[in-house]
Amino acid sequence: MAELITGLSSGAAYALMAVGVVLVFRCTRALSIAQGEIGAFGFFLGLRWADRGIPLLGWHPPRFATLLIAVVVGGLIGFVVERLVMRPLVRRPPLDALIATLGIALFLALLELRLFGTATQFAPSAVGEWKIELFGATLVASRVIGIVLAAAVAGALYVFFTRTKFGLAVQATTGDPTVARLLGVPVNQVYRFAWVSAGMLSGVAAALLGPSFGGLTPFGQTEFALRALAGSVIGGLDSVSGAIIGSLIVGVVEAYGKAHAGPGVDSLLVLGLVLVTLLVRPKGLFGATAAA
C-alpha cells in the first residue's frame, strides 16, 4: 500500500511533465525530449537567484518564488524554442523535430553543467517542508502539491479543449494544419500556445520533482522526462487523460520495482512496459493515433 501511494505521487509528478509532452505532440506532431530540461533550467536559475540574488537587482527572491521563476523561465524558453527552432520544422519529417528537441535538451543540460557544475543541487522545496502520512507512506509537501496540481491541470485542459474556441482550434490544427490554416485557425498561435504552456508545465514539474527526488542534476530531468515520455506512450501520445493514467502506471510500477527488486530493475520495468505497449497497442491505451 505504501508503494502504491508513493508510486502514485511520483506518477502525478511525471504526469505534469507528460501533459506537456502530449500538448506539444497534439498541436505540432513533434515528440519533445526537451520537456524535462526546459523547466529544469528555469528551476536551476531560480535556485541560483534565491541563493545569490538576481543579477543587477540584487534581490533575493523568497523560496516559493523559485517555482514561479521556473514557470516563467520555462515558458520563455518554450517561446524561443518554438519561434526559432520548431516552427521551421513543422513541415519536415517527425524525426527531424525529435532530433531538434534532443539538441535543445543537450544544450540546456550542458549549459546547466557549465553554470552550476556536476554536483547535485540541493533543492529546498518551494512549497514548504510539511508532510503528511497516508496508509504508511510519508508524502512530503512537493509530492502532495504535485498530485493536486496534476489533477487541476487535467481538469483545466479538459475544459480548455472541449469548451473554448481556442481549444477547438487546437483540435482542428492537429487534424490537418493546412486545412485549419485555410479555415482561419491561427495555426502559429496554436504552436506557440503549445510550447509556452509545455515550458511552464515543465517548470512546475521541475520545481516539484527536484525537492522530492533528492535534488537536481544536469540530465537528471531528462531521465524524468523519459518516464513522462514512457507514461504518455503507454497512455497514448495524443490523449491528455491517457498520459496522466500512463504516468501513474509508470510511477506505481517503478515504486514496486524499487521496493522489491534489485537496483536498476525499475528502469528495466519501464523499458518493458513501453515495449509491450508499443508492440501490442501502438496507439497507447487511450490514444487515437500512433506516433510514426
Binding site: L31, I33, L84, V85, P88, L89, R92, P94, L95, D96, L98, I99, A100, L102, G103, I104, A105, L106, F107, A109, L110, L111, R114, F219, T222, E223, L226, L229, A230, V233, P263, G264, V265, D266, S267, L268, V270, L271, V274, L275, L278, L279, P282, A290, A291, A292
Partner: protein, 625 residues
C-alpha cells in the same frame, strides 16, 4: 625512362575524375593527413592517444549512421552499444584470451545485442524506435553499468604488445576507420544496402523486387552493432592496461553526442561524419582553450544543422560535386533519348537468359489464369469473382473507370492484397507463394504512383529492381566474397542494357527525383524489364506522358514483345493506344468484369461506354459523324 606523355595524361585524367567527387577527395586527403600526422612536429603521444579515441567515436557514429542513413531510424542507445563492445572485450581479453579474439568478442557481442534491440523495430517505427532505444540506454546505465561482473570492471585487460605505444594504437584506430568506410561503401554497392534504401523509402513495395524487409532491417541492426562494437573494443584497448572504471563514454550524453555527429556530418555521408567527429569530439580535446564550452557548441551546431542544413557536411560535399559537374557541362537532357528499336538488338540480348524460380517447360494453356479472384479490405470489396486469362505473347489491356479494381488486380497477382480465389502462373498457384518469391517466377510490375527510390540514382534503382537476381548473401557482399563481384558486374551490365533499350543511358547517374515525372515512369518500366520477367504488369504507364511520348511508349510495348518475348498486361486510359497495341481487352466496373474481347469490340460495347468512356466520349463520337 621518362614517363610517356599520353600515359601520364591518362593517369592524370583518371585521378582527376576520381577526385572530382569531393567526398572521395576529403577521405583521400584526410587519410593521407592521418597517416602523416605522427610525423608532424608538435604532435605528442598524448595527442595521438586523443586522436585514437576520436577515431573510435567516429567509428561509433559511422555505425549509428548505418541505421540513420540507411533505414531512417534513430537509435539513442548507441553509446550503450559501444559499452557492450568494451565490456565484452574486457570480459574475454581480461581472462587471458589473445587480443584479436577479445576484439572479435566485442564486435560479435554488440552485433547480437543490437540485433535483439532491433527486433521491436520490425513492428514499430520512427519516433517509437527512438523512445524505446532511449529507455534501453537508461536501463543499461541503471542496471548494467553499476554491476562490476557485467562490465568487467573487476578484470584487468592487458595492453596487447602490438598496440603498446600510442602511435601503434593510433594507426590501428585509423586503419579501423578506413576499414569501416570501405565496409559502408561495399554496403552501398551490394544488394544488402539497396534493400535497406528500398525498405526505408518504399517499404510496402520493396517485396516486388524480391526484398525481404524484416531480414534487411535486422541485418542493418546487426551491422550497425558490429561497427559500434568495434568502437567499444578500441576504447577498451585505449584504456588498457587496466579496466574501464569510468562509464561516461557509454552514457546518455555520449549517445546524444553521437547523434549530433551524425546529423552535423550528414546522414549517409561517411566523409561528413568523420569530419564532424574530428571537429565536435577531437578539436575540443586537443585545443583545450575552449574545452569547457565545446560540448555546448556541439549542441548548438546540432540544432542549427537540423533547422538550416539537414543534409549536414555531407550535403555541402554533394552540392560542391554537383556544381563541379554542372560547370563541366554535364547536365544532360532529362528526357529519354529516341532509340532505334531495330538496332537495340545487343541490349535486348543482354537482358534475355535469366534463371527462373520455376521450370519453363511446364505445359500451361495460359501464362496467367485468374479464377474467381476476390479482394476484400474489411467490409469493402474491391474485386469480385474476376476471372481472366493472359496467353503467352499477348498484350492484354485492362480498362475501367477509377476505382474499378484494375490496380487491385495487379496487387492481388503480385501479393500486395488479401486475395481469395486462384491466380495460376504457368500452372503454379501464386496465392500460395510469398510476394518476394513471385518476382523470381518471372513476374514484374510497375506501380501507378511509382515504386522506386527517388533519392537514389537511376542506375541504383534499376539495380535495386534486380535484387532477386543477386544470389549472393548480403553479408558476403559486404566482404566481396564468393560470386559477389562477378554477379554485380553482370547486374550492372543488365542495368546498362535496360537503360540503353529505353534511351536512358545518359541519365544513369542522375538522381531519380530530379527527373521529370514522365521520365521517372520510363525508368520504372526499364527497372521492371531489367528484373528479367516473362510477364510484365504495367499500371498506367502513360500517365504523365504527352501524346507523342505515349505513342513512342506504344511502339516500345510492341518491341518488348518482339525483342524480349515479354507478355504484357497494361492498365490504360488512353483508348487509341489500347486499340493499337492490345490483342485482348478486359473492362472492370466496381470490382467486377463487365466485358472482354478484341479492343475495338470492347470499346464499342454499350456498357463499357456507359461505365468507362462516359457520355462525353459518346457525344464526341456523335459529333464526328
Amino acid at each position: 625512362m621518362p614517363l610517356r606523355r599520353p600515359e601520364f595524361e591518362q593517369a592524370w585524367e583518371r585521378l582527376s575524375t576520381w577526385l572530382r567527387d569531393p567526398a572521395r577527395a576529403a577521405i583521400t586527403v584526410g587519410l593521407a593527413a592521418a597517416l602523416l600526422a605522427p610525423a608532424f612536429p608538435g604532435v605528442r603521444s598524448s595527442t595521438l592517444n586523443i586522436l585514437a579515441g576520436v577515431a573510435a567515436i567516429a567509428i561509433a557514429a559511422l555505425g549509428l549512421d548505418v541505421l540513420v542513413g540507411r533505414t531512417g531510424q534513430l537509435s539513442l542507445a548507441h553509446a550503450a552499444f559501444a559499452g557492450v563492445g568494451a565490456f565484452a572485450t574486457i570480459g574475454v581479453g581480461g581472462r587471458g584470451a589473445p587480443w584479436p579474439l577479445a576484439l572479435l568478442a566485442g564486435v560479435i557481442a554488440t552485433a547480437l545485442v543490437a540485433t535483439i534491440a532491433g527486433l521491436p523495430a520490425l513492428r514499430i517505427r520512427g519516433l517509437q524506435v527512438a523512445i524505446v532505444t532511449l529507455a534501453l540506454q537508461l536501463a543499461a546505465e541503471k542496471f548494467v553499468y553499476p554491476d562490476d561482473d557485467l562490465t568487467g570492471a573487476s578484470l584487468a585487460l592487458d595492453r596487447p604488445a602490438l598496440l603498446s605505444s600510442p602511435k601503434a594504437l593510433y594507426f590501428f584506430a585509423i586503419a579501423c576507420v578506413a576499414g569501416v568506410l570501405v565496409l559502408r561503401r561495399r554496403l552501398g554497392v551490394t544488394r544488402g544496402g539497396r534493400a535497406l534504401l528500398a525498405v526505408r523509402d518504399i517499404e510496402l513495395r520493396a517485396t516486388a523486387f524480391g526484398v525481404e524487409p524484416a531480414a534487411a532491417k535486422l541485418g542493418a541492426y546487426t551491422l550497425s552493432g558490429a561497427i559500434t562494437g568495434l568502437a567499444g573494443a578500441i576504447l577498451a584497448f585505449k584504456e588498457s592496461p587496466g579496466a574501464i572504471s569510468d562509464t561516461s563514454p557509454f552514457a546518455l550524453l555520449q549517445s546524444l553526442l553521437l547523434v549530433a555527429i551524425v546529423v552535423v556530418g550528414g546522414a549517409g555521408s561517411g566523409a561528413g561524419i568523420v569530419l564532424a567527429a574530428l571537429f565536435l569530439n577531437g578539436v575540443p580535446q586537443i585545443f583545450t582553450g575552449f574545452g569547457r564550452d565545446a560540448p555546448l557548441l556541439s549542441a548548438l551546431l546540432l540544432v542549427a544543422a537540423v533547422v538550416l542544413q539537414p543534409a549536414g557536411v555531407g550535403g555541402f560535399l554533394t552540392a560542391i560535386s554537383q556544381r563541379l559537374r554542372r560547370r563541366a557541362g554535364e547536365r544532360p537532357d532529362p528526357r529519354p533519348r529516341l532509340v532505334d528499336l531495330g538496332a537495340a538488338d545487343a541490349s535486348a540480348a543482354a537482358l534475355r537468359d535469366v534463371p527462373r524460380g520455376l521450370s519453363l517447360r511446364m505445359p500451361a494453356p495460359a501464362l496467367l489464369e485468374a479464377t474467381d479472384v476476390s479482394v476484400r479490405y474489411g467490409g469493402v470489396t474491391a474485386l469480385v469473382d474476376v476471372s481472366l486469362e493472359v496467353r503467352t505473347g499477348e498484350i492484354v489491356g485492362l480498362i475501367g473507370a477509377n476505382g474499378a479494381g484494375k490496380s487491385t488486380f495487379f496487387n492481388a497477382a503480385s501479393g500486395f492484397a488479401p486475395t481469395t480465389g486462384s491466380i495460376r502462373y504457368r500452372n503454379v498457384e501464386l496465392l500460395e507463394q510469398p510476394a518476394a518469391r513471385r518476382t523470381s517466377f518471372g513476374l514484374a510490375r510497375t506501380f501507378q504512383d511509382m515504386g522506386l527510390v527517388r533519392a537514389e540514382t537511376v542506375r541504383e534503382n534499376v539495380l535495386l529492381a534486380q535484387t532477386w537476381l543477386a544470389k549472393y548473401p548480403a553479408a558476403a557482399g559486404l566482404l566481396a566474397l564468393g560470386a559477389t563481384l562477378s554477379t554485380e558486374r553482370d547486374l550492372r551490365r543488365r542495368a546498362d542494357a535496360a537503360l540503353e533499350l529505353f534511351g536512358l543511358d545518359h541519365l544513369a547517374e542522375e538522381r531519380l527525383g530530379d527527373l521529370p515525372y514522365g521520365t521517372m515512369r520510363i525508368v520504372e518500366i526499364a527497372s521492371a524489364v531489367a528484373a528479367g520477367p516473362d510477364l510484365l504488369l504495367l499500371d498506367e504507364a502513360t500517365a504523365g506522358l504527352g501524346p507523342e511520348e505515349s505513342q513512342a511508349l506504344g511502339d516500345r510495348f510492341l518491341a518488348l514483345r518482339e525483342e524480349l518475348g515479354l507478355t504484357l498486361v497494361v492498365i490504360e486510359h488512353h483508348v487509341p493506344l489500347i486499340a493499337r497495341v492490345c490483342d485482348w481487352c478486359y473492362c472492370l466496373e466496381s470490382g467486377a468484369l463487365i466485358a472482354d474481347g478484341r479492343p475495338n469490340e470492347v470499346t464499342a460495347d454499350a456498357r463499357v461506354i456507359e461505365s468507362f468512356l462516359g457520355r462525353s466520349a459518346a457525344a464526341t463520337g456523335g459529333r464526328k459523324r
